[in-house]
Structure formats: structure tokens, C-alpha cells
Symmetry: C2
DNA sequence: GAGGCAAAAAGTGCATGCAATTGCCTCCGG
DNA sequence: CCGGAGGCAATTGCATGCACTTTTTGCCTC
């Protein structure tokens, strides 16, 4: 009833719910610890509880939400310690991708990386944070694809999305934009040389620095919502 | 089987289904490509289709099953290429764990690793493959825990379980048992020395060898069931 | 006024039912 | 004999309903 939602139904309803809820978590609209009430979500998206339940289950399997039997679901709360472990993992994963990329990227992939990277330099000059963020995402995606390893790609993207809520504000730190570009430059140069060791090290260092930049905000994000602890 | 399962219902029904179906996939009882019919599974486990559906959704999120909208679910079919990428990832993940372990294991963890490793030597002498497999699993688990990084631990266990169907027969190769132990020995020695580079390399090599040993069987496992391509 | 118990309210977990989509089989035309 | 269109059976997708668990609230007692 109610819905002519059937018109915009691209995939299955469950998939849409996974994306919809997942996006809200990843973008920080839903904060860690926030209660995810099945009935409200169902009402909010004008579907029944069944697809909502399935979506929550899948998001739980992905680690984005936490499910307590008979006690509802909440947006996954990550401890400071677990957050650190995710950043550390991310650094290693990026290092692997960069390292593999240095060895395996096709010449057209190398060319594309170089071109995009140079294009992003303009964004730095303009101080266009929003636009730079787009190039930044694209840059890292190219690294993941360039590794030519589907599974590493999957693990990396997954980890990246779980870290997304804690990375958003990183470019607000003054001078971060230019510094990020320089770090990217080190990675690109190493990849162009086919120097896998240097590429790996540069990528690891890059993430480590982002990690430290984000830690500041992570502390803020941790305690705000805690309705169930009273 | 087919029992009064309601008595032993420890977690939620969905969790049990995830474990039950997941186990059957991981242990190879359900083969890649095999159709997972919701109704049959529901009947088989004496539950309704709802928890089966949710379980399939979660297993799909984990990559163990593949879901085609409106067309049912099948046990995930991995191409030769994707399998190779998983083994390669596994090698890198194990390398990271071993490397971190070399740096971070507590002295009691080091002691435990050493003791278990020596104990497993007996299994090699006896040629007790079943028992050695237990020690082998435990050995790797210790490496994952010793890395003191929850997220890497998670990624590694996940990847390992997805590879499980293709690793089962590895110890059937003659002499594999003794060779495996020697490879473990290299890792242990490096960890004891706190040599993270050597530990990482030894772990990576270990997995690479397992990978090659398994490739033989993977080829067999790939085509058997293909009901939907006719 | 505080603490504890009990009953009700809220919310989750699973089963069942119905609509919709898919795949197959049949039948017809070429 | 082969190719295609239409209908039928089977299966998936989602909604609804009921039972059980948890939490809250109100009352009674101390």
C-alpha cells in the first residue's frame, strides 16, 4: 500500500535498504551507538519490517551495525582501540595495493593515475576541498584496482567504508590538502618507477598520517549518543 | 539430525542457520555452484523460510553465497582467478600477522606458541594428519591473535574461512606434513628473535606453498556442479 | 522517600500468506 | 524440424500477525 515506491525500485528492496542505511552510517548521519529501531526504519522508508530486518542483518555481517539478540540494533560502536586497529590495517592494506600496483599496473593504468594526480594539483591550488576529496577517493580507488587482486580490493574497500565515518573531517585541518597531495606524489613516483617497496612504504605512511589527523575527531565522535547506557 | 533443535537453541535461529549453512559450505559438504533452495533448507532445518532468508543474506554479505535477485542463491562460485587472488591476499595477511606477532607478542604468548609448535612435532612423527590439522589451525590462530590487531584478525579469519573449501585436501600430498612443520618452525624462530621482516617473509612463503598445493584440488572442485548453466 | 516487585507496553523473532517474477513446457506457425 | 509466443508451475520477495523477550512504569511496602 502507500507506495508507488515500486517505480524507483532499482534492485531489490533489501539492497536499497542496505545502501540507504549503510550510507547514513558511513556519512555520519547516523552516529555510532544510535539505536536502529526496526519499526521506525520501516516507517521511514515505507516498507515492512522484513526487508529492514534483512538489511540490518547484512549490515551487521559487514560490521557497520551491532545486533544484540532481542535487544535491537545500534550503529556499531568502535572503541578507540578497535579504531586504531582499523587504521593500522588500512595502512597495511594500502601498502599492499600500492606495492602491487607498482608491479602490475598496465601502462594505461599508470598513465591514468598520473593524469588524475596532476589534475588534482589544481584543486590544491584552489583550495577546493570538496573537489579534492573526489580526486582523493578516485586516486585511492585506482590504487586498489591497480593491484589486480579482487580479494584485496574487496577487503580494502570494506575497511575504507568502515573507517569513513571517522575520516570525513580530515581535510579541515589547515595545510592538509597540500600535504596529502605531496604524499600522493611520493606514491605515484614510486609506482611509475616500479619500485614496489617504496610505493608500499609511501602508502603506509600516507594512511598513518591520515589516521593521526582523524584521531582528533574520533575522540569527539565516540561518546555523543548513548541512549542505552543511560 | 532433524531433531528437537528447539532445545539446544543457544543463539538466535538466524545465527544457527548462518553457522549451519556456512559450515556446510566451508567444509565442502555444499559445493560451489550448488543451489540453495530456501524451502528445502527451511524444511531440512525445521524452521520457516524467514530465518533461512536472513541467513542467506548474511552469508551473501560475507561472500560465501551468491544471490541472484528472484533467481535464488547458490554457493559462491569462485573463478580460478579469484581463488588465486584470495590465496595471495591470505599470504599477505598472514605475513602481516606474523610480522606484528614478532613485534608484539607477550612473553606468555611466545611461550604458548613455542610449546604448541613443539607438541605438534609429535603429530608429524606419527603421521597423524587429523591431529596435525588441529595443531595447524591453532598455530595460525595464535599468529592472528598475537598480532594484537582486532581488525586484521577479523579480515584474516574471514579470508581463511572462504579459502577453507579449497584447502582441505592439502595435507594429503605426501611429505606435506613434515614440510609444513618446517615452515612453521621458520616462522616461530623468527618471532622468537623478534625479527618481524623474517617472520613476515616466512609466513608469506608458507601460505604460497599451501596455495600451490591446493591449486591441484581447486581445479577439480571447480566444475562439478553447474545446474543453472545447463 | 527509596527500593523492589509486578504488570503492561514496546520491540524483537519467527511463521505464514499472498503477490510477483522467473523458468519451463506446450502449442502453434513457418 | 526448428523457432517463438503464451500459459503454467515453482520459487522468490515482501507484508502481516502472533508469541516471546526485554524494558518501563506504577504501586506497594518498608
Amino acid at each position: 500500500m502507500s507506495g508507488k515506491r515500486s517505480l524507483i525500485r532499482s534492485g531489490t528492496t533489501v539492497d536499497q535498504m542496505v545502501r540507504a542505511i549503510g550510507d547514513r552510517i558511513v556519512t555520519g548521519y547516523l552516529r555510532p551507538g544510535e539505536k536502529l529501531d526496526e519499526t521506525s526504519l520501516a516507517a521511514r522508508f515505507e516498507v515492512s519490517r522484513t526487508p529492514v530486518r534483512e538489511a540490518l542483518g547484512q549490515l551487521s555481517a559487514m560490521g557497520l551495525v551491532e545486533r544484540r539478540p532481542n535487544r535491537g540494533a545500534i550503529v556499531a560502536v568502535v572503541t578507540q582501540e578497535h579504531l586504531a586497529s582499523m587504521f593500522e590495517s588500512m595502512a597495511e592494506l594500502e601498502a599492499i595495493c600500492a606495492s602491487f600496483s607498482a608491479e602490475r599496473m598496465t601502462s594505461s593504468e599508470r598513465r591514468g593515475l598520473e593524469i588524475e594526480h596532476q589534475a588534482s594539483a589544481r584543486m590544491v591550488q584552489l583550495g577546493a576541498e570538496e573537489d579534492y576529496e573526489y580526486f582523493n577517493t578516485e586516486f585511492h580507488s585506482r590504487l586498489y584496482r591497480g593491484a589486480h587482486n579482487a580479494h584485496i580490493h574487496e577487503l580494502t574497500v570494506m575497511t575504507r567504508s568502515r573507517l569513513a565515518p571517522f575520516r570525513r573531517a580530515q581535510f579541515m585541518l589547515p595545510g592538509r590538502l597540500a600535504k596529502s597531495w605531496q604524499e600522493h606524489d611520493l606514491i605515484v613516483t614510486a609506482i611509475m618507477r616500479g619500485d614496489s617497496v617504496a610505493a608500499g612504504k609511501a602508502a603506509r605512511d600516507h594512511v598513518s598520517i591520515v589516521s593521526e589527523a582523524s584521531a582528533v575527531f574520533a575522540a569527539d565522535d565516540r561518546k555523543p549518543i548513548r541512549r542505552d547506557v543511560a
